[in-house]
């Protein structure tokens, strides 16, 4: 069943010489329990597509046409008040830089509890218990003690786990992960990708994974959409697109992935 259905989305920014369209007629669909990887170079419009879905386009950009149906509701025409409800409640987000996304002067627990209580009529005690449970669910060691930790006391991988916990606090149906591992060490990257995959399976999340790395897409996604200059130039099952890239740009992206000599079993 389609959970997110974006059709012919067009985002415009006014310039001195008229409108530019960094997102230009993008269509994509994600079902529950499915991961779609949106792949492209920096500047291709993949992050702006995500921001448009969440209603967080930077000014003076705006949606010019198209629809963003989330569970049937068109977010492209929804008022800001409704979008605020949707963010966190129906859509969770994880960004690239976990240090920049956390408030440095509030503990991890404070930030989790704030998010939990923003979306639910939940007592403080219950919220703190739920916060501890969430941190445990994202695999933070010694979760209960971590509630009182400050962001700077956590490693990069732990911060990303904490952010994922915050993203999941409102029990969203769609998780948007924008380059969630690009700022992390490779071994930590593998851990976080594994965690995201496990959460998708366990909670039946629809996942939009944004990455510039086709190899990451290959290991994580069911389907892939390749974006270039604001448009999706190719999409399909990971298997199909990577095996037989139909578009020149996809082939070039594939070419850029380093091939390592094969390892021993």
């Amino acid at each position: 069943m389609t959970f997110l259905d974006v059709a012919e989305l067009r985002v415009g920014f006014p310039t001195r010489i008229g409108w530019t369209h960094p997102v230009d007629g993008v269509s994509l669909r994600i079902g529950r329990g499915e991961t779609l990887a949106l792949v492209g170079a920096s500047g291709s419009g993949k992050s702006l597509t995500a921001l448009a879905i969440m209603g967080l386009l930077p000014r003076p950009g705006r949606i010019l046409s198209g629809s963003i149906r989330l569970n049937g509701e068109d977010l492209a025409v929804a008022p800001e008040r409704r979008l605020r409800e949707v963010r966190g409640r129906s859509i969770g987000m994880v960004f690239q830089d976990p240090l920049a996304s956390l408030n440095p002067v509030r503990t991890i627990g404070d930030q989790l509890v704030e998010t939990l209580r923003a979306h639910d009529t939940m007592g403080a005690g219950e919220a703190w218990r739920e916060a501890a449970r969430l941190l445990e669910a994202v695999g933070l060691p010694d979760a209960a003690a971590r509630l009182h930790a400050w962001p700077h006391q956590l490693s990069g991988g732990q911060r990303q786990r904490a952010l994922i916990a915050i993203a999941l606090a409102g029990r969203p149906g769609l998780l948007i992960a924008d380059e969630p591992t690009s700022a992390l060490d490779v071994t930590i990257q593998a851990e976080i990708l594994d965690l995201l995959d496990q959460l998708r399976r366990d909670q039946g999340l629809a996942m939009l994974l944004i990455t510039h790395d086709l190899a990451v897409a290959a290991t994580q996604a069911d389907r892939v959409a390749v974006m270039q200059a604001g448009q999706i130039v190719e999409s399909g099952s990971v298997h199909e697109v990577l095996r037989h890239p139909a578009h020149r740009y996809t082939a070039a992206l594939l070419e850029a992935v380093p091939h390592l000599p094969r390892g021993l079993p």
């Binding site: 170079a41 490779v186 071994t187 510039h212 290991t219 992206l253 380093p258």
Partner: protein, 319 residues
């Protein structure tokens, strides 16, 4: 075998922590780079690899050990001599947005080294700068442009041209492509491989993953918590890593082809970082090998030859 161009011997680098404690970022590290060869130094953040790079180019004074360039001990020679020696090794940093002076034009940036080392006349310098632009694939017509008008990949090309201006024999590359997109990354690696061939350059290439260095390195040294845990020929390390940490690094490389994808090894816990353990193996806290034993906590494994490489693990054996 000829004498190495760069020989680092039992190097120790330390920082004073805020609480007065001493943090050993690089601990007893030895390595060599032959003329014309690329050695990749791979490790996660906090493993000490950038500290080592800074020590090698003289930006940081080591606590113990020696760094020899072409047989000359960098800590023992006079300041003036060091200055002329510096022309022979250059460094390129990770962030091309931070490493270029925003108030110098691209041409001034690339030509600065020529002036500092008084190479050529102003006329021949201009020619030389233009040639360097072409060599790294940037239109010499853009000499008068400022860094902000260049993309990340183009800036890294400028940083390379700047480093190459004084005709160095050794380039120290500190994560030169980590800040770049996959496609731009491939282009820069291609350029590096080409320059290495055409100029016979030796490189110390620092990276945090094995995928990046596969195209450029002849040898690989893997660093963990301030020490080298495995070193040997690149192909051997990429195809059959022998240290449990190298195996985890290798398994973390995402691959397009499912058949090429080894089982992902997930390391538990966090890196001890530079606050290295006093005794025992630095990797013991995250080691996933069934062989792991009490000995690993008590006795530090020395780097010892295992087949075609050296490994610092009590339990590594020839495969």
């Amino acid at each position: 075998m000829t004498a190495p161009l760069l020989a680092v011997d039992r190097l120790v680098c330390a920082y004073r922590g805020r609480d007065g404690s001493t943090v050993h970022a690089v601990n007893d590290v030895s390595l060599t780079v032959q003329a014309g060869e690329t050695l990749a130094l791979v490790g996660e953040s906090g493993s000490g690899k950038s500290t080592l790079a800074r020590a090698v180019v003289g930006l940081l004074r080591p606590v113990a050990g020696t760094i020899r360039f072409d047989g000359l001990d960098l800590s023992a020679i006079a300041r003036r001599e060091l200055r002329s020696l510096r022309r022979r090794f250059q460094i390129v940093f990770q962030d091309p947005f931070a490493s270029l002076n925003p108030r110098l034009t691209a041409g001034e940036t690339v030509g600065e080294g020529l002036e500092i080392h008084a190479i050529g006349t102003s006329g021949t310098r201009a020619e030389r700068v233009a040639a360097l632009f072409s060599e790294v694939g940037i239109d010499p017509a853009r000499r008068a442009d400022y860094p902000h008008t260049f993309s990340g990949g183009e800036r890294q090309r400028l940083a390379l041209a700047r480093a190459l201006a004084v005709d160095p024999e050794l380039l120290v590359l500190d994560e030169p492509v980590s800040a770049l997109d996959v496609m731009v990354r491939a282009e820069i690696l291609e350029l590096l491989a080409r320059l290495q061939r055409s100029r016979g350059l030796a490189c110390l290439f620092i990276a945090h993953d094995l995928a990046t260095v596969a195209r450029v390195a002849q040898r690989i040294a893997v660093m963990y918590a301030g020490r080298i845990v495995e070193t040997g020929p690149a192909t051997a390390i990429l195809t059959a890593p022998a240290h449990p940490y190298t195996m985890a690094l290798r398994s973390a490389v995402p691959s397009i082809n499912a058949a090429e994808r080894p089982e992902r090894i997930i390391l538990r816990g966090a890196s001890p970082g530079p606050t290295a353990v006093a005794s025992g193996c630095g990797f013991a806290t995250r080691c996933w090998w069934p062989e792991r034993a009490a000995r690993c906590d008590a006795e530090r494994p020395e780097l010892r030859p295992v087949g075609d490489r050296a490994v610092a693990c009590h339990f590594s054996r020839e495969s």
